[in-house]
Symmetry: C2
């Protein structure tokens, strides 16, 4: 009969594999969402929308596995932090999948027209490059748990917020040619990208908690100023 510790490690490896798989799916989803939004690619949009069901199913499976691990193994110390963080990371990734889907849904609805007026496209090219990169960093971070990378993901989000703020400046400028519907969509799309970045920060903090045992979910001063920026036009 296998030692409990061996069983625990096997089960923990399984759930870690599923979480890694989920992070890959989120990365694929945000790449597809960008392709749909920036190149009016209806097939890419549909794939992201359909694929979100798999991301949702992975969340449910991972949470169930974590609850089973807690029930059967009663882990403590680092093992416990791994299980609790995995459970929370699964929910974060699920939301990131939703946000990629929301972007794809807007691209699908406006197809074959682009959702965005030309004067704002470059801003979204930059936000897309940012979130695509950060979603790749999350995959690396999950396996390496490298503290410098965790820190880079957390502090790097300011750049996305800076780009996001420019959306409001452009809409409010005379250069804006968008219809009311395009204004609505641009505001929503900007919010989705900004939230995607926020969730990447949450994910980094949750991995940071595994490493340090300290839950860095809140840095009230920074969090608040970042959030205020969100709603400043």
């Amino acid at each position: 009969m296998k030692h409990m510790r061996v069983i625990f490690n096997e089960e923990l490896n399984q759930v870690a594999d599923d979480l890694d798989h989920m992070a890959h799916r989120v990365h694929t989803a945000i790449e597809g969402a960008g392709q749909a939004l920036l190149h009016q690619d209806i097939d890419a949009a549909q794939q992201v929308i359909d694929g979100d069901l798999e991301i949702d199913a992975l969340e449910t499976s991972i949470i169930n596995q974590c609850v089973q691990l807690l029930a059967k193994q009663g882990p403590v110390a680092t093992d416990l932090r791994v299980v609790v963080s995995t459970l929370r990371l699964a929910s974060t990734f699920e939301r990131m999948g939703d946000l990629a889907r929301h972007v794809a849904e807007i691209a699908r609805r406006t197809y074959p027209q682009p959702a965005l007026p030309a004067e704002i496209t470059n801003i979204f090219v930059r936000m897309q490059a940012f979130v695509s990169n950060v979603s790749e960093q999350l995959i690396t971070m999950l396996s390496s748990k490298d503290e410098a990378l965790i820190e880079r993901i957390i502090t790097g989000d300011d750049q996305l917020d800076d780009i996001h703020r420019q959306i409001f400046t452009i809409i409010n400028s005379d250069a804006w040619t968008g219809s009311k519907q395009q204004t609505i969509d641009t505001v929503l799309l900007g919010r989705f990208y900004e939230r995607f970045g926020d969730h990447a920060v949450s994910a980094a903090r949750r991995v940071g908690y595994i490493v340090s045992g300290f839950d860095p979910t809140k840095e009230p001063q920074n969090m608040h100023s970042a959030h205020e920026d969100t709603v400043l036009g």
Copy 2:
């Protein structure tokens, strides 16, 4: 020396009290946010913004207590579900507090002018009444764990989505007098209210999980159609 079970129950009661306190704070926050938005009440806005730090601190405290309970007591069955759900409910309430703060921040920024043009105010009066009511239902649900109430919260969210959709119709109509900044703010505010409702549904599902042992986090068909509605102009 106290029996482990007695200690466990005492600690569980403590964290349940904190969660109840958090739900009350969220209800107060959304009431204050509505007062700020609909009556240009700058003091109410500031209270919501300042008060969010306490909600954030409650989340951190509750999560720490839950991890301690898992480490020291290794709960199983219903006890385990209570702890896992409490941990997840704390994060849901924290987000609801953030959303109330976002509403208050917009009201503070546009003060003494209302953020909303007159033709959309009635929609927000109705959304405010809805979220104020649902945040009160969450408090009742936490203590009663009444399954009929849980179900009512989950299914009732469609009404909020219906009201939310009307925002886009009004902005796109000739009746809309809002400036571009007001259009931006209206879209963001609508999104914040809609998300507040989504989080109330999440909270209800998490309490449902305690009661039934089944995690009803996903109803893919409903979730997806609801989300598509979100982005339909």
